[in-house]
C-alpha cells in the first residue's frame, strides 16, 4: 500500500553535491523542498572525526559510504552480443550512498571543462574534416558554452574551497598555472596546496621535457577559509585519508558541511533519509511529471510524494536508471540507433607508471587529494595535433600521490614474487620510496556503449537492474599508446632505481578492480530532443517539470574529473529554475 503525501513545490532525489546545491538555492528562493536520500545521515562531528575515520577496512575494503550492491547493482557486459552479469561487489566505480553523496569521499579535484568538450564535434569537423570522426563515434555538441558556464564554475569553486593557481586570468597567461585553460574571471579562492616531494620531482622533469606542469586544482582548503555562504573550512592537514573518506579537518569541500546544513536550517526544507526512489510518476498526457514514489528501506513502507517540480540528483547512473524505470523518454537502441535514454555512456581510460628511487623517502602518508602536479599539454592544448596519432580527445598526466593506504598500497617492482618472504621484503623496502605518474584519458561516445534495462536480473524492489554495455574502442587504444610513451619518457628522465613502465591497455574493460568513479552519459544534454534527453538547462525534453542533474548529462567524457562541471551545472540549473521556470513553467528551450 502506498501512502500519498501532501504536495510540495520540489522533490529532490539524492542529496549529494547537486541535490544539496539545488536544495539550498531553491529553499532560499522560498520554495518548499523535500529531499529523498537513499542512505543515512552523516555529519563531520559524529562520523568523520577520530576514532571513526582513517579506517581503511571500513571505508575502502567494506565501502561504508557507498551503494549497497545487495539492494541494487548493475549488470555489465562489453558488447551487445554478450550476456550481461550482475556486479555483485563494487569494483571499478563507487557511487556514494549517504547524505553528502560521493561528494563526501571524493578527492576534491575540480576542473573547468571548456568549449573543447562542449563543441567537440564542431571543433574536430572544422579542423580535421568530417571523416576524421569514425562513423560509430556518436560525439555531439553539448548545447552550452564555456562563457555561459564560467560564472557558475567560479561559484562552485568558491563554495567548495578550491585551492589552485590560475593559468589564464581574463586572457592573460599566468606563470605556474595551466596555460591551456580557458580564461577565468578570478583566481581560485585559495592558493595551491604545499607540494610534496614526488610532485616537485615530476614538476621538474616535466618542465625539462618542455611541458607545462601546474598544481592540480583541488577542493582541499590550503588554509582556513570561510566561503561566501559562511561555511567554515579548516586548513588541510595532509593526513593522506582523502579519497574514500570524509575529512576530519573540515578541509575538503563537501556538500554535507556547506550547502546541505544551510538548506537544513530553512523551514522550507525537509530531508528524508533511507528513502529509495522507485519511480517518477507521469501525468496522463505524459507532458509533465507529478512526483515520485519511494520506499523507506528500513521498514519497506511505500510513499508517493507529489511535487510541482522533480529533480533527479542521484548518482548519474541511478538517474538514468530511474528514467528508464519510469518510461520517460525513448529508450536507446544501439543496433537501430534510435531513442535517447541510455545513449552515450562513457567511462575514462588511463595508463600509469610506478617509479622506485632507492634512498628517497617520499613519506607517502603526507599528502592531500590534490597533491599532484599535472600537465595538460596533451589535453586542453588544442595546438597538440591529433592527426598524426589518429585519435580524438586527450589525456592529462599527473605525478605524485593521491593516497597511500596501509592495507592496499603495496608498490613493488615488476618481477617481485606476489607472496612470501621476497614479497614482504620488497614491500618493506619500496613502500616509502615509490611514486606514480598517471594519465587520465577521455573516452569518446560510441554507439554501442550504453545503458538499458536488464532482461533477467532484478533489484531488491523487484525492478529490472540497469544493464551497462561498455568497452574501449580504437580511439582509446591509440591514445593509450601515446600516453604510455609520454609517461615513460618523463619517468626515465628522472632516473629511477626501478621503473614499472606504463602500458597502453588493450584488454577488454572489466568491472574490477577499482578504476574511476567518473561515469558519464545516459541522460545527455543537447540541442534537439532527437539526439538528447535534456536541454541545456538539464530540463527533460519530454516533461518540462523534470530536471536531471549530474554527469549523466555529459554527452562524452573528458580526461578531467567531472565534479567541476557537475557543480557548475547545478548552480546553472538552480538559476534557470528560480529566475525563469517558476515564473513561466514550460520548456526553457523550444524543441
Amino acid at each position: 500500500m502506498t501512502t500519498k503525501l501532501k504536495e510540495v513545490d520540489v522533490v529532490i532525489v539524492g542529496l549529494g553535491w547537486t541535490g544539496g546545491i539545488l536544495a539550498k538555492e531553491l529553499t532560499e528562493a522560498g520554495m518548499k523542498v523535500v529531499a529523498l536520500e537513499r542512505g543515512g545521515m552523516r555529519t563531520s562531528e559524529n562520523d568523520y572525526s577520530l576514532p571513526n575515520i582513517r579506517d581503511e577496512l571500513r571505508y575502502v575494503v567494506r565501502h561504508d559510504l557507498m551503494q549497497n550492491t545487495a539492494r541494487d547493482t548493475l549488470t555489465v557486459r562489453n558488447n551487445p552480443q554478450q550476456e550481461a552479469l550482475p556486479m555483485r561487489r563494487l569494483g571499478s566505480f563507487l557511487p556514494g550512498e549517504v547524505v553528502g553523496g560521493s561528494g563526501v569521499h571524493w578527492s576534491g579535484h575540480t576542473w573547468r571543462w571548456t568549449d573543447m568538450e562542449f563543441k567537440i564535434r564542431s571543433n574536430y569537423e572544422e579542423r580535421y574534416g568530417k571523416k576524421f570522426i569514425p562513423d560509430d563515434m556518436t560525439i555531439q555538441d553539448w548545447g552550452i558554452s564555456y562563457a555561459e558556464l564560467e560564472p557558475y564554475y567560479e561559484k562552485f569553486e568558491y563554495t567548495a574551497a578550491v585551492s589552485g593557481k590560475a593559468g589564464n586570468l581574463a586572457g592573460t597567461i599566468q606563470d605556474g598555472g595551466n596555460p591551456f585553460e580557458a580564461p577565468r574571471a578570478r583566481d581560485y579562492p585559495l592558493p595551491p596546496l604545499t607540494p610534496i616531494l614526488a610532485s616537485e620531482m615530476f614538476t621538474n622533469a616535466a618542465r625539462n621535457a618542455g611541458y607545462h606542469p601546474f598544481p592540480r586544482p583541488s577542493a582541499n582548503a590550503s588554509q582556513p577559509y570561510t566561503n561566501p555562504d559562511g561555511s567554515k573550512f579548516g586548513g588541510c592537514q595532509y593526513c593522506g585519508y582523502c579519497q574514500r573518506f570524509g575529512c576530519e579537518a573540515n578541509a575538503k569541500g563537501s556538500a554535507h558541511m556547506t550547502v546541505i546544513p544551510i538548506a537544513m536550517r530553512s523551514p522550507n526544507f525537509e530531508l528524508r533519509t533511507h528513502s529509495w526512489a522507485t519511480k517518477v510518476l507521469k501525468d496522463s498526457d505524459g507532458k509533465r511529471v507529478t512526483g515520485v514514489t519511494y520506499t523507506n528501506v528500513l521498514n519497506g513502507e511505500e510513499f508517493e510524494q507529489p511535487a510541482s517540480i522533480v529533480l533527479l540528483c542521484a548518482y548519474g547512473i541511478n538517474n538514468v536508471h530511474l528514467l528508464l524505470l519510469s518510461g520517460i523518454g525513448a529508450p536507446y537502441d544501439p543496433v537501430a540507433q534510435k531513442g535517447v535514454v541510455g545513449k552515450n555512456y562513457c567511462y575514462q581510460t588511463g595508463a600509469g607508471a610506478t617509479l622506485f628511487f632507492e634512498g628517497k623517502y617520499f613519506n607517502p602518508f603526507m599528502n592531500a587529494g590534490g597533491s599532484n602536479a599535472t600537465i595538460d599539454d596533451f589535453n586542453t592544448n588544442w595546438a597538440f595535433d591529433r592527426a598524426p596519432h589518429d585519435f580524438l580527445g586527450g589525456y592529462n598526466v599527473s605525478g605524485g600521490f593521491n593516497t597511500a593506504l596501509p592495507i592496499g598500497y603495496r608498490p613493488v617492482p615488476s618481477g617481485t614474487p606476489q607472496w612470501g618472504t621476497a614479497w614482504k621484503q620488497a614491500t618493506a623496502k619500496w613502500y616509502q620510496t615509490a611514486m606514480v605518474i598517471n594519465a587520465s584519458g577521455s573516452v569518446m561516445a560510441n554507439r554501442y556503449n550504453c545503458f538499458d534495462l536488464d532482461p533477467t536480473y532484478r533489484n531488491a524492489f523487484g525492478q529490472p537492474l540497469m544493464r551497462m554495455t561498455f568497452d574501449y574502442k580504437d580511439n582509446e587504444h591509440k591514445m593509450g599508446v601515446h600516453a604510455a610513451q609520454v609517461i615513460n619518457d618523463v619517468a626515465k628522465s628522472m632516473n629511477p632505481t626501478k621503473l614499472n613502465p606504463a602500458r597502453a591497455r588493450t584488454d577488454p574493460w572489466t568491472v574490477v578492480p577499482y578504476q574511476s568513479t567518473h561515469n558519464t552519459g545516459g541522460a545527455i544534454m543537447g540541442t534537439t530532443p532527437r539526439e538528447s534527453v535534456l536541454n541545456k538547462y538539464l530540463q527533460s525534453w519530454d516533461c518540462h517539470n523534470l530536471f536531471v542533474i549530474g554527469a549523466n548529462a555529459f554527452p562524452h567524457n573528458s580526461s578531467y574529473n567531472p565534479t567541476g562541471p557537475v557543480g557548475a551545472l547545478a548552480y546553472w540549473t538552480a538559476d534557470a529554475i528560480k529566475n525563469r521556470y517558476v515564473k513561466n513553467p514550460g520548456p526553457l528551450v523550444q524543441a
Binding site: 563531520s44 562531528e45 582556513p224 573550512f233 579548516g234 592537514q237 593526513c239 576530519e248 579537518a249
Partner: protein, 124 residues
Amino acid sequence: MINTMRVATALSVLLLAGAARADGDAVRGEARFQDCAACHRLEAGTNNVGPSLHGILTRKAGEIADFRYSPAIKRSGIVWTPETLDKFITDPQALVPGNRMPYAGMANASDRADLIAYLTKASQ
C-alpha cells in the same frame, strides 16, 4: 651564515619555552580564530567536530560531559590557562601525544598571543 641560523634557531626555542606573551591583540586574534572555527564554536553547549570553547579558560582539559575526547586529552590533567593553551596550540601533538585534534599548530608566538587574547574575551 650557518652559525647565525643556529643561534636564531636556539633563540626561537628559548622563546617558545618561555611563558605566553600577555600583549596579544584580541582584534587580530579574531582573524587567527579562523584556524579554529571550522571545528570549534564559542557558544556554550555547541559541540561540533571539536568541543565548545565556551569558558575554556575556566576548565580542565576533557571536561565537557557530552563530547567524545581522546583518552590522551582526558588523561592529560591540563588546566587551561593562557600559558597551557599557548603550549598546546604551538604543537598539539608535542604537548599531548595521541590527541585527536587534526591541527598541526600555530608556529608564530605573536599570532598565538593574539588568538589567546581573543579567546580570553570571546569564550566568556
